[in-house]
């Protein structure tokens, strides 16, 4: 028996090394990245728990909001939310519950935090997703053109517009967009609703419902696009500029290819590499970044939920949104890492 295992090990050693990439195999790479991600999520959970307990304020007083409650009522509330337990016990309970997907009960809504987050998650994904897709398309398209004729009028105009919008306060921009396109100014009629995600009196059928949400989506996503497309534009522009002196482009031109084909088929695919990973890194961040836009347009998403939870403050809810927001950043980081390896052979070789 001992011999045969030794033999097996031997054979394994003699597998031709050409099939194994020098950077370690896919399974190892994925395991490392996922493992790192899980450790980060755990640290986020720990941080979330202690961070919000450092916040000044007695949770029970927050819950009763200064109402004249008796000492027994306060004691009962403490028990109901486990606040009478020592901190380490609360932490263990929290971790145990977290593993079961239980994020606790919100003080303000008296409902499970996981349920509240699930309700608000999809509106945010819809808003952030739409805005990101539009911003990416717009940013890459303008960025490509700006780089191709860099230094020209189009380049100067488009980058300065994008950077101006990027630096404008989102809240202010949101209100301006709302007034111009929601209410109407001068000859521009008010075309879109000024707030919310749906109108109450929309018929229950699918098409009116979809149209109604689409109408409500226009202004918030427009505002978000205006603010975030600049980063895609700038990254695309600079990475394309880096490619532009490359020899393979000269080769392509020498083959007699038309200029826009050289750009589209040769330069842009190479320049896209850093941009794609950037998009995924930003996707994680942007969920939290939607707070302002959601507040201006009363969009019932995660950002708004976080904002409300902070104002109270509602500890379990804050903790829950913190874990979900931080978790989404971690997940997107892992995805970006994996994607980079697929897209860029150099990472595989390293």
């Amino acid at each position: 028996m001992a011999d045969s295992t030794a033999e097996a090990e031997d054979r394994a050693e003699h597998v031709p090394s050409g099939h194994v990439r020098s950077g370690g195999g896919w399974p190892g790479y994925i395991a490392r990245k996922l493992g790192g991600g899980l450790v980060s999520v755990f640290l986020v959970a720990v941080l979330g728990f202690f961070l919000f307990r450092v916040l000044p304020g007695d949770p029970v007083r927050t819950m009763t909001r200064g109402a004249p409650v008796s000492a027994e009522q306060i004691e009962q509330l403490r028990q109901r939310f486990g606040l009478d337990q020592p901190l380490w016990k609360q932490f263990l309970d929290f971790l145990g519950a977290l593993l079961r997907g239980d994020l606790g009960t919100s003080y303000t809504y008296s409902r499970p935090v996981a349920e509240l987050i699930a309700e608000r998650f999809w509106p945010t994904v819809l808003l952030v997703g739409t805005a990101t897709v539009l911003a990416v398309v717009l940013g890459l398209w303008i960025g490509t053109r700006a780089a191709w004729r860099h230094g020209g009028g189009f380049d100067k105009a488009s980058t300065s517009i994008a950077l101006t919008l990027w630096s404008v306060p989102t809240f202010w921009l949101g209100l301006i967009v709302l007034m111009v396109f929601g209410v109407g100014v001068g000859p521009i009629p008010g075309l879109f609703p000024v707030g919310g995600m749906s109108s109450p009196d929309t018929p229950a059928e699918l098409i009116p419902q979809v149209l109604d949400v689409a109408r409500h989506l226009v202004l918030p996503s427009l505002t978000m696009v205006a603010v975030i497309y600049a980063q895609y534009l700038m990254v695309m522009r600079s990475s394309l500029l880096e490619e532009m002196g490359a020899d393979y482009l000269t080769t392509a031109r020498a083959k007699g290819l038309r200029e826009d084909l050289v750009r589209r088929r040769h330069a842009v695919p190479n320049a896209l590499l850093p941009t794609v990973t950037l998009i995924f890194l930003h996707l994680g961040l942007v969920v939290g970044g939607a707070i302002t836009v959601e507040t201006v347009y009363s969009w019932p998403g995660l950002g708004l939920l976080t904002f409300e939870a902070l104002r109270v403050p509602d500890l379990p809810l804050l903790q829950g949104t913190f874990i979900v927001l931080a978790g989404s950043v971690i997940v997107m980081n892992v995805v970006a890492d994996l994607l980079y390896r697929v897209l860029d052979p150099r990472v595989r070789a390293a």
Binding site: D58, A71, Y109, L191, A214, R215
Partner: protein, 593 residues
């Protein structure tokens, strides 16, 4: 390039066209009243929901024993037609109005009321929102369907102000866990003028008129509460006609609506008073000193001088743009009966304040700042809510005025939570505070009693840390006084004592600013009748009385048939464009590589 412009135009057209179609009116429809709500509805469960938006909703869908009159906030029969008390004032017998029905057709009886209060007394979760109303209850019973008997532990004059929604026993007796019950099965069984039929959290609540309502159905057939997180957006929605009523407006927003043709502004008196606490030497309920209040403030002469150094009229003019009244007595003037105006008010008079401080022995040092007789400079901290712009403005004014009388003030803007924590701990010299008073003054008067001071463990809800035997006697006497005129007199005496002690300076009462579409609705019943408000009432009068105009009766409905056709059109055009592009690409394929 031309191709791309074409695509862009089609996309743009696609975005605009369905909206143009949606704006098309179609005939028919009933009177919908749409109200912009700036605050979240925290829960549909009347035992749990406490936010103003939630309690507003409960007043419309659940009955209460008594309600407040729209004229003057006096207690008025609602579910209870009449009532009597025993000679010892401990037993209250309420006679329930016959023939009132729940929206599912079952009769509303005394048993429902008894069940509701009993559950609040015995189930801690059910006491979450309104438990304070039953704290003094000994027992509740319903000897028959028409009679409700409540026994209290001590005589209590606030028995006609039990502002807790009554729920149907046949629905709620099946609910085991009140804390976990969302009460979101539509339609929600109630018995008020409206019935809740649809609810999207953070978005809207829809109610329809209750045809069985005992007072008769409201004139509005549908009522919608639409959430707006941002009052700027709700003002724009009102301008555009997306909502009919907007509330909680800032003075600037209110002024901006003055020239709007179809909008009527409503300037109501507010229920809030805005005060500056002056720490008189905080102590806990065991009498042990706590906190970090400046010793000079324990001297009532210093507190009165501070009050006198503040120009309250300037605050009303500059901070509120004139939308408010100068502060004096503790209870705001909206509650006419109980409001008290100081007969000899300490008007703005820096010279008198200076003279008083000089006479009390607080001499100015070489830096112009006064010293206590022990030589400690009068450097005071002024704690403000960092989130409130009015606080910042008030802070700057007060700082300047107190500098004129030789008191140095350092502004400390902190989070709302910290304001609560530090005031409870007594860790302040001066601090901004304010409360919304109820028609029954008991709740806010209680804040100034010795009993409201924090327990040694830190619980409790103190306000200005007044602990004064004379005030407490007056407070206790008014709570046990059942003759309205005598009670009013005692409440006013308590306010006078509070004013004399100057542990807080009531700076102003701000107006409640609202606006509504006058082209669609008229006849909102305001509460109180003179200078009252439509929203956030103590009752359902505002929406119940709303009278739709013919324009509102022929409300425009979205024509989704047209919208769908336009959508189909866009898809067809987009398809054709894609086809053309693909063919163009095929044609040039030879040119590639």
């Amino acid at each position: 390039m031309g191709r791309k412009i074409l695509v862009a135009l089609v996309v743009l057209g696609g975005l605009l066209m369905p909206n143009a179609a949606i704006a098309q009116p179609s005939a028919g429809g009933a009177a919908k009243l749409r109200v912009a709500v700036p605050q979240q509805i925290d829960s549909l469960n009347p035992f749990l929901g406490y936010s103003l938006a939630a309690t507003d909703l409960f007043r419309l869908i659940y009955p209460t024993l008594t309600t407040y009159s729209p004229q003057d906030f006096s207690a008025t029969p609602e579910l209870a037609e009449r009532w009597e008390t025993s000679p010892d004032k401990l037993t209250w017998t309420f006679h329930i109005r016959p023939g009132v029905q729940w929206t599912d057709g079952q009769p509303v009886t005394a048993r429902d009321a008894a069940y509701t209060y009993d559950r609040m007394m015995h189930d801690p979760a059910a006491a979450t929102a309104n438990g304070n109303f039953v704290e003094n209850f000994e027992s509740v019973s319903a000897p028959d369907d028409g009679t409700l008997v409540i026994r209290t532990k001590t005589p209590q004059s606030t028995m006609l102000a039990i502002d807790a929604p009554i729920v149907p026993e046949h629905v709620w007796s099946k609910v085991d866990d009140v804390a976990g019950f969302a009460n979101d099965r539509m339609p929600v069984v109630g018995s008020g003028p409206f019935e809740l039929t649809e609810y999207e959290p953070e978005q809207y609540a829809m109610l329809r008129a209750n045809p069985r309502f005992w007072r008769g159905p409201p004139k509005v057939s549908e009522l919608q509460f639409v959430q707006f997180k941002n009052t700027d957006a709700s003002v724009q929605a009102l301008r555009k006609g997306e909502v009919d009523v907007a509330q909680k407006l800032t003075p600037a927003q209110f002024d901006a609506l003055a020239d709007e043709p179809d909008v009527e502004q409503v300037k109501g008196q507010g229920r809030r008073f805005f005060e500056m606490l002056i720490n008189p030497g905080a102590a806990n309920s065991a009498g042990a000193p706590i906190g970090t209040g400046h010793p000079a403030l324990r001297d009532v002469r210093v507190r009165r001088a501070i009050d006198q150094a503040i120009n309250k009229q300037a605050l009303v003019d500059r901070v509120l743009n004139g939308y408010g009244q100068v502060g004096g007595g503790y209870l705001p003037p909206i509650f006419d009966d109980y409001h008290w105006t100081p007969p000899q008010p300490r008007g703005f008079d820096p010279a008198a304040a200076n003279a008083q401080l000089d006479a009390a022995g607080y001499r100015r040092g070489p830096d112009g700042i006064r010293r206590t007789p022990q030589g400690e400079p009068l450097n005071l901290g002024f704690m403000l809510h960092a989130s409130t712009s009015a606080d910042a403005q008030v802070g700057e004014f007060v700082k300047r005025w107190l500098a004129d009388v030789g008191i140095a003030v350092e502004l400390e803007p902190v989070s709302d939570n910290q304001v609560n924590d530090r005031t409870t701990a007594g860790d302040f010299d001066l601090a901004i505070s304010g409360w919304s008073a109820n028609p029954d003054p008991d709740y806010v008067l209680r804040l100034q009693t010795c009993g409201s001071r924090p327990s040694p463990e830190g619980g409790g809800t103190p306000d200005s840390f007044l602990c004064d035997q004379q005030y407490d006697d007056l407070y206790a006497r008014q709570l046990g006084e059942f003759d309205p005129a005598k009670r009013i007199d005692l409440v006013k005496q308590a306010q006078r004592r509070f004013y004399d002690q100057a542990t807080a300076s009531v700076l102003y009462y701000q107006n409640s600013l609202e606006a509504h579409r006058s082209d669609r609705y008229s006849g909102f019943t305001t509460q109180p009748a003179a200078e009252g408000v439509i929203t956030g009432q103590q009752g359902y009068w505002g929406y119940y009385g709303a009278q739709p105009t013919p324009a509102a009766m022929n409300s425009q409905d979205t024509d989704y048939g047209t919208v769908a056709w336009v959508l189909v059109g866009i898809v067809v055009i987009a398809g054709v464009v894609i086809l053309l592009v693909v063919r163009h690409r095929r044609a040039t394929v030879d040119e590639r590589e």
